[in-house]
Symmetry: C2
Subunit: 301 residues, 2 copies
């Protein structure tokens, strides 16, 4: 992953709401990764090209370099809208991408579309490319992919198609509750995993009382019967447990894999293990690169 | 409610997290209401007396005026801590209040305690005084009081006692989701009550999928299949419906009354009516005054 003097053969871009991740892809199979905080939410439509060039300008050659983008840059508020394709569908390929006319003649920009589902209404942008990457590496996979995150996704895959999916606001809810709500005074300590485990079970058996169980975290720490670490563990366990209760039709009796990295995915893996489900994990960043590469090389997954 | 030239006989104070509400109580039975935004969250412990005096200074006589306070002024971060009394209990009276030594000799300040429950852990500060007010006016009430709000309470009352209660974070969740979450782009219109009604039923029958039903509001408005008014109605209905599902052991088969005013209480009344429950409403502000008056006059409720 050392920087090269020859220009990249093409450029892979994962453009999220909060971050921009660029991978310079070299002909010899190496790559070089660059990131910035110039996510979709901080940019106007005419700010995308300058934000991208700020990262890649020094690396471009004299010819035209293909740039393949997935994520929120293709939303209505993004660089250019790449309209959703509808389930059931294969993950989008370059054939369905939108070509963007850049001002700089050295780049040829394509933005991959997201995927929509009419009923229940649902959308994804970016995850479909991680899914494409996973299916490139596991072409015979039949089961469910879970992508934990701000808006976690449960995706039913069969015959290389995205059959259906559902999005849960679990991650955003956790962030709001720990940073903005009255619970922020009660959960500022390292997570207690025993408390997490119990709370997952509580939420799975009684998801309807989670609204009251949440306030009990504040009350318990106020009354001295609950530590902040246990409160944080219970908060995380209640939210992930409620999600598992709602996603049960997805994970029950099916093969499942988790796409993601770090502590959040580990918590999902742990919660599923408590239900007797073994779910392997793969890196989300690796899957994005794999998916963008599949699109760039027109590999049909 | 015209302002008087004689000083008030005593002063009733409802000191919440965000607001301070003072009622000057005159010997002839009239009262005069004053409010400010100097709630507990904006004050240090030594800021309470000046904030109170800023409202009442001009109205005080030369003698000592009793001031009876309920709410967050009695919390650990308040003016002076008034330790919780434990359920089961009568609503607190002046005998359990904390006397505060004020710097100004013209006021004699008492702060009423809140109520705590050990298991499930729960607390209230202020609502116990509304409950005292309700029981003063309805001494034979046996059933459940529901107090909608930021942290809504369901309180089981029997033989004039607070037997048990549970707090739901529904109001705070609604505020966070409509103002801070991705849903803020999808719910900025007048509430559609038909959508509210359907969502209450959806949440009551499947509370575990609410996390996904919430994201579907964003997806539905993005895809054009849901109006913002319907999304707001569904958001409110999903949250209140989930609360009703969790509070079912409280409201099922018991007499129920709602303490509160305005549109939120009306929505709870409507959601309960959909379950065949008739719940009368009374004003929360009236109940606070009634409860503080009961404490001041040492009326045993």
């Amino acid at each position: 992953m050392t920087q090269q003097t020859t220009p990249p053969a093409w450029i892979a871009v994962d453009w999220g709401t909060s971050n921009l991740r660029v991978s310079l892809m070299y002909a010899d199979g190496t790559s070089h990764c660059l990131t910035s905080d110039q996510g979709m939410s901080s940019l106007n439509p005419d700010g995308f090209e300058p934000a991208l060039l700020a990262l890649i300008d020094d690396h471009l050659g004299t010819g035209v370099t293909p740039v393949v983008i997935c994520g929120m840059a293709g939303s209505r508020q993004g660089w250019a809208e790449a309209p959703y394709i509808a389930t059931p569908c294969n993950p989008p390929s370059l054939a369905e991408a939108v070509s963007v006319r850049a001002n700089d003649p050295r780049i040829a920009v394509s933005i991959l579309p997201g995927v929509k589902q009419e009923k229940p209404a649902d959308v994804m942008r970016g995850e479909e490319t991680q899914i494409a990457g996973y299916l490139t590496q596991n072409p015979d996979f039949d089961g469910v992919l879970c992508l934990p995150g701000t808006h976690s996704k449960w995706v039913h895959i069969s015959a290389k198609e995205i059959v259906s999916f559902r999005t849960f606001m679990t991650g955003e809810m956790f962030a709001l509750l720990t940073k903005q709500s009255v619970l922020r005074f009660s959960v500022q300590d390292e997570i207690d995993l025993d408390a997490f485990d119990i709370a997952v079970g509580d939420a799975l058996s009684r998801p309807e009382t989670v609204g009251a169980d949440l306030f009990a975290l504040r009350a318990g720490t106020l009354l001295g019967s609950l530590s902040e670490g246990a409160a944080r563990g219970r908060l995380s366990g209640l939210l992930i447990g409620t999600e598992l209760a709602g996603a049960r039709p997805y994970w029950l009796g099916r093969d499942i894999a988790l796409i993601g990295a770090g502590s959040l995915t580990t918590l999902y893996q742990r919660a599923l293990a408590l239900q007797g489900i073994t779910a392997p994990t793969v890196s989300g960043e690796d899957m994005v690169i794999s998916g963008l590469t599949a699109a760039h090389t027109q590999t049909k997954v």
